[in-house]
Amino acid sequence: MSGTSAPQKPLPVADPVTKPFWDSVKRQAMELQRCNACGKFIFYPRGICPHCLSDDLAWQPAQGTGEVHAFTIVHRHPNPAFAGEVPYVVALIELTEGVRMLSNLVGVAADPAEVKVGMPVEVVYEAMTDEVTLPKFRPVGSRQ
């Protein structure tokens, strides 16, 4: 097959500080940073703790659970790769560790009657390419 290629979604490109996170997601074993000095979890990954400015940070396996802190249902997007999939849910997930992460909610209808703030969710891994996997979330108990 040749000719027109399908529109591409933009994918994350890791930097030296964030690479362990993206590597852990690719292994389907998401890890988060925790500050050894103040004990707090951190997301997105940083080289310095935003709570106490320590650089004594360690990677820990994430529980992979959380809840929907806020969400939106997208009906229009300027990138055709996303526009072809509307409506879909973008959600801010509050992980059990206390940090928040933007992601997509899958395994549920993109309908405000179905998606609720406070809904418990768990991580699922979506391989976008051989190189890049994204962490997404589904309602706990969802089969998808």
Binding site: K9, P10, L11, P12, V13, A14, D15, T18, W22, Y44, H69, A70, F71, T72, I73, V74, H75, R76, H77, P78, N79, F82, E85, P87, Y88, V90, A91, L92, R100, M101, L102, S103, N104, P112, K116, V117, G118, M128, L134
Partner: protein, 384 residues
């Protein structure tokens, strides 16, 4: 303790670009320049008088070159649509301390036609590109919509209440010949408009236009020699607390709480003394949240505060009297247009235009919000 401005600095000229709305034949930098020229002429000042230069969106280098201005004070603070309100604070500080005498703040954006605009691309390894872009959140609308769903869940805010803001703002736009959208709308129109990103429909969202704006400030002393009724700066405040929406410390509170408190404290005025509120309205929800954060109502009561047409012409709380970013004009960073309208109302420029003029307007609050509820600038202005 901050030293206050005490009304020692005044706005002496304001202007839009020669045309606003759809202006495909004018590049962004010329929109700046047209507005600057008209604002200086209105003030009765010359280009040579300007010694302080302030802008966002382009570098002050490019602006100074285009206008032939060599400033001794230059400030390119660029934190989104609030930048120009924050420039008022910085210009006041510079003028009070004698670091410059005449400050020119400009804005120009070809938001609709994209003529002469910088490229929008972000690096693929930026934090936004890694942690938000891959999930398909349309920006900035998706960020505001997402913050709004949290407010709805915590406080029971409804789409009908948000729609009230769009409806009242449109009523003001029907009175402004420069407004792009002038046909009246109803709450049902807002609810039934094309969905953009839940809970927003098209009519919850600002316009995308081409426009420039400019504001000229000087000392209140020198303002006496200017052509227009001066409008004094009484209080200012600024803050920001995140860049990415996923990093917002609280989804239902933002930097306006800090900027507003500091502006009101410096001005020494009470909320019930204000005659006019110009509140950045990128989206309906931006206004509702800002009113709460500035302290016009209790947390969670923003929906009730705007209901029943309270902010419409003839209502008890005149707000966004130019028709706002929702119905008048919004090229991308609207803040300067909120300042321009507040000044015109305080000068009584619309005295012969019936209910368009807020009666006996003496005191106004102008609030700018930038980024994705990221930054805030508040100014309290008074008819001198």
């Amino acid at each position: 303790m901050r030293r206050g401005i005490e009304g020692k600095v005044a706005i002496v000229g304001v202007a839009e670009s020669d045309r606003i709305g759809r202006v495909p034949d004018v590049p962004a930098i010329l929109l700046h320049a047209q507005a600057a020229r008209t604002a200086l002429a209105e003030a009765g000042l010359k280009r040579e008088d300007v010694d302080g230069l302030f802008t966002a969106g382009v570098s002050t280098l490019e602006l100074g070159e285009y206008l032939g201005i060599e400033p001794v004070y230059t400030d390119g603070t660029a934190v989104g649509g609030s930048s120009f309100v924050i420039h008022i604070a910085h210009a006041a500080l510079a003028i009070m301390n004698g670091w410059c005498e005449v400050a020119l703040i400009t804005h120009g954006e070809s938001g609709r036609s994209r003529v002469g605009m910088p490229a929008r691309a972000t690096a693929p390894d930026s934090l936004a590109s890694q942690f938000e872009v891959p999930y398909g959140i349309p920006q900035p609308v998706g960020a505001y919509a997402m913050a709004c769903t949290r407010h709805m869940a915590e406080y029971g805010t409804t789409h009908e209440q948000l729609a009230e803001i769009a409806v009242s703002t449109r009523k003001w736009a029907t009175l402004n010949p420069k407004a792009m959208m002038r046909d009246p709308i109803t709450v049902e129109d807002v609810l039934n408009a094309r969905p953009i990103t839940y809970p927003f429909t098209l009519l919850d969202c600002c316009l995308v236009t081409d426009a420039g704006g400019a504001v000229v400030l000087t000392s209140t002393e020198r303002a006496r020699d200017c052509r227009q009724t001066p409008v004094a700066v009484l209080g200012v405040g600024e803050s920001h607390d995140h860049s990415l929406i996923s990093q917002m410390p609280s989804m239902t509170s933002f930097a306006a709480k800090t900027s507003g408190r500091r502006a009101f404290e410096m001005a020494g005025v009470r909320h019930d003394e204000l005659d006019l509120a110009m509140i950045y309205d990128s989206f309906t929800y931006t206004v509702l949240l800002t009113l709460e954060e500035l302290g016009f109502c209790a947390k969670g009561e923003g929906g009730e505060f705007v209901s029943g047409g309270r902010t419409a012409p003839g209502g008890p709380f005149p707000m966004n009297t130019n028709g706002g970013g929702l119905s008048y004009n919004h090229p991308g960073m609207y803040g300067i247009f909120a300042i321009i309208e507040a000044v015109r109302q305080l000068r009584h420029d619309y005295a012969d235009q019936g209910i368009r003029q807020v009666k006996d307007a003496k005191l106004a609050v102008v609030h700018g919000t930038g980024g994705v509820l990221s930054s805030a600038g508040t100014a309290i202005l008074a008819r001198a």
